[in-house]
């Protein structure tokens, strides 16, 4: 075998005239690697930050919360700790701004004690964080301040009490900014909560007991000993470690997603590399055959080109890693709406090294597919140019390379997810996605060839024929540009579907506004007010809150101790909001049993109706006995019917329905459902309600829609950012493929001009070629997106599938436009070149 020195020297010498071209091959992996490094740097920083800031995310060592005040047992457990205690009561309610005559649904937090113990409540001005604790003032979410043009000193009415705005709050504990526009956060001091009279039976209240430990009690151990017992009292305990896990888990999912997207961009780039190396090897066949004739062994020739590709790959990967280290600086900004804390942006050397190693391995494996053929190039090529057999036919080593690619993908994904099963699933998913993409693009190419429009004019025919020139990269481009397009298109379709589905809840006579927290005495006045606004009272139902105490003969405590229990915790622990009525609602469907509408004291048994989902979660069926604790009174009931509930409407829905004649005297509140014709009426009605009945909350579909839209926009922003990587990779592959075929194109153009084609015609041919290429790529992406989003909508999101063609048309036009634009940028030289210059040039 030729010496390594000779191989290296020849590799360097041979690359001299091709370095520009080779560098181009490698540019296609740049973006993939940079995405990978950027995302992993970001993730490393997030993990560090979570570890360093977890205590300040929770703000305390322990957080005990539930939707009832702490029981005696819980309180005594808390009292037994050597600790400082702060409490927070959180409720969703309406606020009314008299100066602006506007109302807003808010998340009200009433604080008592020096919370947060760790970290700071960041307010503007800074003193506001302390002042609101002493005075009857409020700090409001920054976004709400801007939305309503509020100023410091303005008033906000909460329930029956008026508060002065002290300042704005910039960070919220235990919340992410993305959902804040639906219910912005307001902080007041707990001493003034009672004056609002907002805490009523049936209000949506959460009580938190926030604890800072003074001794070295281990919060996790403390929690482990009491968790089950606390659960019986419907209280949850959260420690700093739980918070860390929660946040890490949320970020893990984000990290998987971002890594997958980066990996896809890298794989697309690698396909670009493989396809470029294939063309490069083809251009080297004569040289390789000559080397072989002069006595170089197949492996020697292979080593020369392997070395060239390896070094350029290394340069590409390192450049990508450097680029990635810069890109990671902007990721926290892209994700800022989802970050509950500030993420540092330092370079993570682990991510850089990882990116380089992974990038180089995957790139080289892909490059090996065409490179292996070098070993088989026959020296006979020197004598016969058309000797085709050598590079064709099966090479068993190819299968080894394919296997190695799969194995490295699997290992990468296994390491990412930490679970071999998930790694395998992702690998299979990725491979399947690429196969689908490959076959769709193959199918499109096949149909274009099969149904080649032979009677079209010359320019179009030539444009199509150009796509199938020797060494074309049509398939690679269809795959890479197609994938980017399909990600974007799926995103638009799904986003459209979600909004349309929420929107369709407003159609026809469907209600679009729900009022709750109505006291019994307010019921008639509210109905009158509603009608004075010409709004229909579609539904007005009572709600009684209760808790499940026993079922199927065992108490809650006994069930919790039973390891064979099949009932789900949420079904057991939730505070049940129950209504009573004498008939089944028209939107419901009776699945089994009899709906018994009225309690017959003569029979002495109370028959209730459950929703199918709740019955399943509690693992109860017809005839089973359930005992409820209705604010201290125990009521024994039996399941007499199971109903199916329609969730796709804004009407009231009840898991549990009692018959008339049982709960009439129990403490209760009312819910009123109506339909407003437009947002103006909604706003006016809402303000009127809040003014007259401060305790009543109004939720309208329009604000839910705008929140959904807001969240979707933020999510899609991230996905678009990541889809950009695969689109840009497609663009780079496009540019490199155009440059690779430049000389061939110049020769063809010159030939056409020699035989009389005008510059205009040549331009038209080229435009036709790129437009068709763009159209095929866009079609590949859009077809996949349509099928993908249909499956996603049908089986995953359970939405009605419908398409708005308008955004698809825009995407299609953009992709075609971009392809033509890049194609024509590259084309100037092709058109300008003089025929003589080309004939003289060694091509």
């Amino acid at each position: 075998m030729a010496s390594l020195k000779f191989i290296t020297r020849t590799a360097i010498r041979d690359s001299r005239k091709n370095r520009g071209r080779l560098a181009l091959f490698m540019s296609s992996i740049l973006l993939g690697i940079s995405a990978l490094v950027a995302i992993n740097s970001f993730n490393d920083n997030v993990v560090d930050d979570i570890n360093n800031q977890a205590a300040s995310l929770l703000g305390a060592d322990l957080d005990i919360d539930g939707n009832k005040e702490a029981s005696e047992y819980v309180m005594s457990a808390i009292d037994s700790l050597d600790a400082i205690l702060a409490t927070e009561v959180e409720l969703l309610t309406m606020s009314y701004m008299p100066q602006q005559d506007a109302s807003q649904f808010v998340r009200l937090k009433a604080l008592e004690g020096p919370f947060p113990f760790y970290g700071k409540l960041k307010t503007e001005p800074v003193e506001a964080a302390e002042r609101f604790r002493q005075n009857k003032t409020v700090v409001v979410d920054e976004s709400m301040l801007f939305q309503y043009g509020l100023q410091r000193g303005d008033s906000i009415r909460l329930g029956k009490s008026i508060f002065t705005i002290e300042g704005t709050i910039k960070n919220a504990f235990g919340g992410v900014a993305a959902g804040a526009s639906f219910a912005p956060t307001l902080y007041i001091s707990k001493q003034y909560l009672a004056s609002t009279e907002l805490v009523q039976p049936g209000s949506l209240v959460e009580y938190s007991y926030l604890i800072k430990l003074n001794d070295d009690t281990d919060p996790d151990e403390w929690k482990a000993q009491r968790r089950e017992r606390f659960r019986q009292d419907a209280m949850r305990i959260e420690t700093v470690n739980d918070q860390k896990e929660d946040v890490s888990e949320a970020f893990d999912s984000l990290n998987y997603f971002l890594n997958l997207v980066a990996l896809v961009a890298l794989l697309l780039g690698c396909i670009g590399v493989a396809s470029s190396v294939f063309i490069y090897v083809k251009s080297k066949i004569n040289s390789i055959a000559t080397f072989r004739c002069l006595g170089m062994k197949g492996n020697g020739a292979f080593s020369i080109y392997f070395l060239q590709i390896f070094f350029l790959g290394l340069i590409g990967v390192v450049t990508g890693a450097i680029l990635g280290s810069f890109i990671q600086l902007i990721i926290p900004q892209v994700l800022s709406d989802f970050l509950p804390f500030e993420v540092t942006t330092k370079v993570s050397w682990t991510a850089v090294v990882d990116g380089i190693v992974i990038g180089l391995i995957i790139t080289m494996l892909f490059a090996l597919i065409p490179l292996l053929a070098v070993r088989k190039i026959s020296p006979l090529r020197t004598l016969r140019a058309s000797y085709e057999q050598d590079t064709e036919g099966g090479d068993p080593l190819r299968w080894v390379v394919y296997f190695a690619i799969l194995a490295s993908l699997f290992l990468f994904l296994w390491r990412l997810t930490g679970d071999p099963g998930a790694g395998a699933t992702f690998t299979i998913g990725l491979v399947a996605a690429f196969l689908v993409l490959f076959f769709v693009s193959k199918g499109i190419i096949w149909s274009v060839k099969k149904f080649f429009p032979r009677n079209w004019n010359f320019v179009l025919r030539q444009g199509i024929a150009n796509l199938f020139r020797p060494n074309n990269q049509t398939q690679t481009l269809l795959v890479s540009i197609g994938l980017g397009t399909s990600i974007l298109t799926t995103l638009f379709i799904i986003q459209g579907l979600l909004l349309k589905n929420v929107d369709s809840m407003d159609a026809g006579n469907q209600p679009n506004m729900v009022l709750y927290g109505i006291e019994r005495t307010q019921k008639d006045d509210l109905a009158q007010l509603t009608e004075s606004y010409n709004l229909p009272v579609i539904n007005q139902v009572p709600i009684v809150t209760m808790a499940l105490a026993e079922w199927k003969g065992k108490t809650k405590a006994e069930w919790f101790a039973d390891t064979t229990r099949t009932a789900r915790s949420w079904a057991i622990n939730r505070e049940a909001r129950v209504t009573y009525r004498d008939k089944i609602d028209p939107s419901e469907k009776l699945l089994k049993g009899n709906f018994i509408g009225t309690y017959d004291p003569g029979i002495d048994s109370i028959y209730i109706s459950l929703s199918d989902g709740y019955a399943r979660a509690l693992d109860v069926d017809l005839g089973d006995e359930l005992v409820w604790n209705v604010q201290g009174t125990r009521i024994k009931t039996y399941v007499s019917s199971i109903r199916e509930i329609d969730f796709a409407s804004m009407n009231t829905r009840f898991f549990i329905v009692f018959p008339n004649g049982v709960l009439e005297d129990a403490p209760q509140f009312q819910v009123l459902v109506t339909k407003s014709p437009d947002t103006k009426t909604t706003a006016a009605y809402r303000s009127a309600v809040v003014k007259s009945f401060p305790n009543i909350s109004v939720i309208d579909l329009a604000s839910i829609l705008s929140t959904v839209n807001d969240i979707l926009n933020k999510v899609s922003y991230i996905i678009q950012f990541m889809a950009l990587f695969s689109i840009l990779t497609g663009v780079v592959v496009l540019i490199s493929s155009l440059l690779l075929s430049k000389y061939q194109r110049i020769k063809e153009s010159v030939l056409l001009r020699t035989i009389g084609a005008s510059t205009k015609q040549i331009l038209q041919i080229n435009i036709a070629e790129y437009a068709i290429l763009g159209a095929l790529s866009a079609s590949t992406g859009i077809i996949i997106a349509l099928v993908g989003s249909f499956l996603l909508a049908k089986f995953q999101l359970e939405l009605d599938f419908m398409i708005r063609w308008y955004p698809l048309l825009i995407i299609f036009t953009l992709v075609v436009g971009l392809t033509v634009f890049i194609g024509m940028l590259n084309n100037r030289e092709v058109v300008r070149k003089s025929p003589l210059e080309v004939l003289r040039k060694e091509v």
Partner: protein
């Protein structure tokens, strides 16, 4: 007999779909060391195929080729490559210079493959010898056809081959340049005592060799020794 090249019952069949085409059929001959032989025949008679088989660039369908008593059929591709590097030189019709290497580097390749430390020196001498001492750093695309073929001849002799195969060495050159290249080829051949096997359809060139093997339809139809060898002009 002590032939350096021995061709026995050589047959080569190409398959194209369901059809098969016999390009060579039962060709046999031997070439003694130092002999200068030309293979002539019309286009499609199998000349280049025969050269390719003799040089171990391709495998015969039947029969065998022995180079220095070693049957090429017994060697694998790598062993045949090693044999070519050690004993064989090539001159091609289309020169087959590596476009990315300079003229000098092209000449150095066979020696460098052998790990010869004096590769550069030998190559420079040969470049001088073929009259291109001042063109060493030029790339093939910067050289004329005649110059490229001279580089190719220098490369062919650089490893001191015992056998030189030339495939239509003047086929791409004009008459004058062709003659110069022929002269150079014969001169160097004589100096080094190389066995020369030339494939050509140029009868003038064939007449300058010791022996002419005529092919037609894949068979040897005539194998004649030349009464008047004329290897120099």
């Amino acid at each position: 007999m002590n032939e350096i090249i021995l061709v026995k019952d050589l047959t080569k069949t190409y398959k194209s779909g369901s059809k098969s085409l016999n390009v060579l059929e039962d060709v046999s001959f031997g070439i003694a060391p130092g002999e200068i032989v030309s293979i002539v025949g019309p286009s499609g008679s199998g000349k280049t195929t025969l050269l390719g088989l003799c040089a171990g660039l391709d495998k015969p369908t039947k029969g065998q080729v022995l180079i220095k008593s070693t049957s090429l059929s017994d060697l694998n591709e790598n062993e045949r490559a090693a044999l070519r590097n050690k004993y064989i030189g090539f001159v091609f019709q289309n020169f087959q210079l590596i476009p990315t290497l300079t003229a000098l580097e092209n000449v150095m390749v066979p020696l460098e493959l052998q790990g010869d430390k004096k590769a550069k020196m030998v190559a420079m001498e040969l470049m001088d010898r073929v009259g291109l001492g001042d063109r060493m750093t030029h790339y093939p695309s910067q050289l004329s056809g005649g110059e490229q073929q001279r580089v190719s001849i220098a490369r062919a002799f650089s490893n001191g081959p015992e056998i030189l195969f030339a495939d239509e060495p003047t086929g791409n050159l004009d008459d004058d340049t062709g003659h110069h290249v022929e002269d150079l080829l014969f001169q160097l051949n004589q100096e080094q005592g190389t066995t020369l096997l030339i494939v050509t359809h140029d009868l003038d060139l064939a007449n300058r060799t010791n022996r002419i093997i005529r092919l037609k339809g894949g068979r040897v139809i005539q194998d004649t020794l030349q009464p008047h060898q004329e290897t120099q002009s």
